[in-house]
Symmetry: D3
Subunit: 159 residues, 6 copies
């Protein structure tokens, strides 16, 4: 049974050393994933954001998240390179912070969960960077996968 | 007063458009920063980690975090490029997940808060990537700055 | 009618925010593009180029353009990553400067116009870099698409 | 005399092969450079830009230019790596196109002309990318250095 | 006959200038390659490696090799970008050094020989970096292709 | 004594985990390093090289080596980022192959041994790539440091 569980951790070979999973036998199908991150900030910082006439911090963060998604394979060592068909990053100003939502899609042999996670993380980090002069105490809460579709393991949605 | 607050958001010029802050007049002094991230995971996933004889997922994540810190300026649009004197990423297995701590240091005109934040985030994302086959429901909680030293704004420590 | 025109700007979503176009429904067909740039320089600088026995500035610039084409998706935020089947950069010494021509090709869901434009631009910038010690007043004129073939919008050729 | 002229092309060694100039003996002083590029477009495309409520194409292009400036040494083979103290990219909508102006500054052993040229070029290419669905015939005209200050060769300004 | 031989050097066009080979007419089939490198080191350095309880230098080097393989097209100017289906790097401690073996695989229009060669080289360089404080005299011997399968030129195995 | 030896392996912390060495206390002085690599090839391949009128494979390889040196910190996980003052790559055609020599220099807190090693390796790999159509059996022999000057450990020269 220990053996069975180890095989589930597909990034590990039989000797326990990390390697990239071989996706050569998988089929290239449409796969999507959505991830989110929440940048918690004080009312003071949020108010400043609202006053900014062009909403730029969020726009710069959106661009940063989209660009980072395309470089996921450089950042996450055992991630496969894949051509993204689509990436989008949205921001929603909430009462106590900014909710970042990232969607990624591809037609490839493997999923895009990490691309969505990276896009949400880097967009959130960029918001932090652009507002940290006002409050270094902000934090990025709950970077997490919301849903994925396609692939052998099928659809998944956070409960 | 609104004007005074805007000047605090030093990434923005007088017209409200984002730009990189000019650090030309700042002095090159020793600066350090420490950030943390927490990867929450079920007992089942944690137990599998413990059984792995070489502790590899955490070692791969440490390397990923260190390498990412050196590329912070590529990921965060308005961050300055700077030569890091030091980066380290540590992992601590806790009861309900992994605590990632990243430290960065430099002797430069600007701080290394973002380098520490990026190192902690990418290390946490790598742990997620390597364990997601067991549980996609894991989340990255509380990516945050713990402390910084040096620079004009002085020392800061999370309360 | 305003709505119709907005949909033509396919990089923008319905709310006017920039995003990457979803190419998931497009078919992977052969696509080619050719772009050019002209580096205008004084007779003095051109003569020096001619005297150089190995023609190196142009050869370094050709390599720079080819390498840059492969990184187009990192430079242009909303560009898709795609596997280039072919890139070539040619130089032609003319009476008042250097004409750079770049060709890119792929079999993919989207076009390679930007890859050809980036290759021509970076090759021209490299020529500028290597000759600017002689004359900083050189300029890069007319970076432009010359033709494209393939894809839903069909063939196009500059008039 | 031919020899004297060759030594002016400081990227070339005595045998005519390209190499990176040794800046080890130079002093680290404040250096600035400003470059510009002009994206010529039809009135139709310009009008669409104006109608866009958030001015996003120009904002995405500004971010792209700033990020690219930090990667100049990766794009231009014989350019030195240097820590930029400042980069800014501005857009001005004119009657027949968009004028892009980029400023870069550093305190280092070598100049930032190429950083300013790369920022202006990549911002202009990004505008082209985001508007090419409306008109592939747009062109990027006159990427050029406007002025530089600092360094052994002193100040320079386009006549 | 000279002409025939030149056509074998497929990276060169008819005028002898380097260019990227057009793989547009090739078919996307499974291709694999294996390369090796040997890091020769003194018994003293090897013994220190053995004593290290976690075997980390080799693990860091494995990660470095895997990540570098994915960036082969950025390092080798005329290499095509391709999505790797699989990369693995193994280490074997021998009597007078470390044998590094790298395997790469893809389903694409061109081979992965260079991806395997780059992975082996960068892993070996990383071992050198991590042990050079003990002995700068170590050397990397025999970076070479061991075998390749698939593609028009068929299978090949080192004699 | 075991403890003393461990401290020599400065990439490792007291618990044996890899980390980046803190160079904060070191002084920024001139440092140089020279490395070499030898690409062994059959007479047949060498003759083809000689016949090529422009000597391009070696010129492309030189550019590749110079560009790679500037990205050493991205390839070698625990290497520091540093601004190179100078890089050069030379080729010498010998009886049974090509000797690649790379020199790197900086004024920084740490040495440039790895920058020289990476430049020599990537130049050699590029030669392999450009000639492998003629003979896959070529190998890269003896990538090694030839000498270094400057820094706390002083000068070193291969015996």
């Amino acid at each position: 049974m220990a053996k069975k569980k180890k095989s589930e951790l597909s990034h590990f070979d039989s000797a326990g050393a990390a390697r990239m999973v071989d996706v050569g036998g998988k089929s290239a199908t449409r796969r999507e994933a959505e991830a989110s991150a929440f940048v918690a900030m004080s009312k003071k910082v949020l108010t400043e954001l609202d006053k900014n006439p062009k909403g730029n911090p969020l726009e710069v963060a959106r661009v940063a998240g989209i660009v980072a998604a395309k470089r996921t394979d450089e950042l996450i060592p055992l991630c496969h390179s894949l051509p993204l068909a689509f990436v989008d990053v949205r921001m929603k100003v909430e009462r106590d912070g900014i909710l970042v939502t990232a969607v990624a899609a591809t037609t490839a042999e493997n999923g895009v969960e990490m691309e969505a996670m990276v896009a949400a993380s880097v967009a959130a980090l960029t918001i932090y960077d652009m507002c940290k002069a006002l409050d270094k105490g902000m934090s990025i809460r709950e970077v997490r996968l919301e849903r994925k579709t396609g692939g052998k393991s099928g659809d998944w949605r956070r409960k």
